[in-house]
């Protein structure tokens, strides 16, 4: 039996809501790296036009459709959000892995519990949001803080979810404050294979603005539902 060095500290992921992995598995593709981290979600059957590994490149507003963040924010800052927050159960983890990095475009990360300094948990748990689009027969109502089994899910998306009740309006007003961007941790995916593993149920993420010389930035993303703490094989 060969014991491999753990790829990351699961306690750090649990405590911080994300973990930065410098030069993650350089010999592997992003899909292979993600599979070494945990159970990867095949997005193709769940999200039309998607695939297991998605390529993220900065695009101007006119170059992307309105159902994409790029189609709304272009090369400007992407606000703090959770991925696929409008889903009934969003993917648990998001792996962002650098293919071609830049020195100045930061990924912003903020654990939702930081908000508790300004708003009560009870208010957040009563905040009801509605997705922009709904399939016939499906509910578009989501609570900002809900549960999947024993796990809490915090979700937020200023574009794809709209507040429906007064608790949600209170949360929305709070998150409009640009001060939260200042509070966020910022990481630069500068070198190939530099990665961030984000707990999408705990942590909001965003992107800083992309300057004209930084549009070559290329990140790959994969979603995971579970992660394993180390690479031990039997």
């Amino acid at each position: 039996m060969t014991l491999r060095k753990p790829l990351f500290d699961p306690q750090a992921l649990f405590k911080n809501g994300f973990v930065f992995l410098s030069n993650l598995l350089p010999g592997c593709t992003t899909q292979e790296a993600a599979e070494r981290l945990g159970s990867v979600i095949d997005m193709a059957p769940l999200l039309s036009g998607s695939s297991t590994v998605q390529d993220l490149r900065p695009r101007s507003i006119g170059s992307a459709s309105k159902n994409h963040y790029s189609g709304n924010f272009g090369l400007d800052r992407f606000p703090l959000h959770s991925d696929l927050a409008h889903w009934a159960v969003p993917p648990r983890y998001a792996l962002l892995r650098c293919v071609s990095g830049t020195a100045n475009v930061a990924t912003h990360l903020l654990r939702w519990e930081e908000l508790l300094s300004a708003i009560s948990r009870n208010t957040i748990s009563k905040a009801v949001l509605r997705s922009r689009k709904r399939r016939n027969g499906f509910s578009g109502l989501r609570r900002a803080l809900s549960h999947e089994g024993i796990h809490e899910i915090f979700r937020w998306d200023p574009l794809f979810l709209t507040p429906v009740n007064s608790s949600a309006n209170e949360l929305c007003d709070l998150l409009r404050d640009p001060a939260w961007e200042d509070k966020a941790d910022k990481f630069i995916l500068a070198s190939p294979n530099d990665s961030i593993l984000i707990d999408n149920w705990q942590t909001l993420h965003g992107r800083g603005p992309v300057g004209g010389t930084q549009t070559c930035r290329h990140i790959q993303r994969a979603y995971l539902m579970e992660v394993i703490g180390d690479g031990a094989s039997g």
């Binding site: 009934a88 159960v89 009563k126 009801v128 499906f138 509910s139 089994g149 796990h151 009740n165």
Partner: protein, 319 residues
């Protein structure tokens, strides 16, 4: 555990989320406003359905056609004109009565409250307009509490004033409070022993007293004179700005009643509920615009005018 894009419209969470939206809509109004009662009836309907969905969404399907069960199972409709139909409220309540511990006592109230909602939606009358909160609010909270417990939640997960809801439930269940009826009977007897002249004087004095003191003027259950109900503010303050005055209103949950004509005093919400004085009332305050917005008063403006120094300016003159 798996990522899930959509959630069925008849799922437990979807229905609970809707109940939450309607409760917050209810809480925007004062308790004695008809809309408060109306939204409460809608929220209760969705909470009931959420509890049934907690067992299985298929139980919410109208049983008269298998296609509704097929839909409840998450399948796409198989005919173009299909409209999914859910079970009647009566069927929902029958299921809850059989499967939810502690709900049987609430079934009759839920059916009655749903009936009021139907009358509100289908008749030309305002069904909730003159409905006293004491007659339905404790039962509403008790029903909600049983349903919330069944789906793994508590009153605080749904209501802003969960503590007051608990008090109302406790008050309605307080058998000892019924002893207040003996107090009232005793005061009725004392009042009956007074002469007409004594009664007239006492009632008149009570009228004057009640008009000067702060509280909600209410007829005494013993002597029918005017007494005062006082209590604890609950919920938000609504503010209306009129021409020169600001009118603010807030719901008050009764805590004490006093009648100086016959001397009856009742303390505690449970006793007040027992003698029919437990209905929430609205406290109205009228404030001048100047006071509310901190504007200058007439006196302050006059003082400013008279203190202005004379610079020796000459008035216009057509000479």
């Amino acid at each position: 555990m798996t990522a899930l894009p959509g959630e069925h419209g008849w799922s437990k969470d979807a229905l609970f989320n809707k109940a939450l939206v309607y409760v917050q809509q209810m809480e925007k109004h004062n308790a004695d406003n008809w809309e408060y009662g109306f939204w409460s009836s809608l929220s209760l309907e969705f909470l009931c359905r959420s509890a049934v969905a907690h067992i299985s969404p298929t139980l919410l399907a109208d049983r008269r056609d298998w296609r509704h069960t097929h839909y409840a199972l998450g399948n796409a409709p198989i005919s173009k004109t299909f409209v999914p139909k859910s079970a009647d409220t009566k069927d929902v309540l029958d299921i809850l009565s059989a499967l939810v511990p502690g709900f049987t006592e609430s079934k009759a109230f839920c059916f009655e409250h749903a009936g009021r909602r139907n009358a509100e939606l289908h008749s030309g009358d305002l069904e909730f307009k003159d409905l006293k909160t004491g007659t339905w609010q404790p039962k509403y909270y008790a029903a909600c509490k049983a349903l919330l417990k069944f789906i793994g939640k508590e009153l605080v997960d749904l209501f802003r004033d969960a503590e007051i809801a608990e008090q109302m439930i406790a008050a309605s269940e307080d058998a000892a409070a019924k002893a207040v009826e003996r107090d009232i009977v005793a005061h009725v007897a004392l009042w009956a022993g007074k002469s007409q002249e004594e009664k007239a004087t006492a009632s008149s004095q009570a009228q004057v007293w009640a008009s000067r003191e702060k509280g909600h003027r209410t007829e005494c259950p013993a002597c029918k004179s005017i007494g005062l109900l006082r209590g604890t503010p609950q919920g938000t303050v609504t503010t209306n700005v009129n021409d020169d005055v600001i009118v603010q209103r807030q719901t008050v949950i009764p805590a004490t009643y006093e009648c100086i004509a016959c001397g009856l005093r009742v303390t505690g919400l449970s006793k007040l509920v027992a003698c029919g004085l437990g209905n929430a009332f609205t406290e109205t305050s009228t404030i001048s615009a100047a006071d509310f917005f901190g504007l200058y008063t007439e006196d302050e403006m006059e003082e400013a005018r008279t203190s202005t120094p004379d610079f020796g300016y000459e008035d216009d003159n057509n000479d």
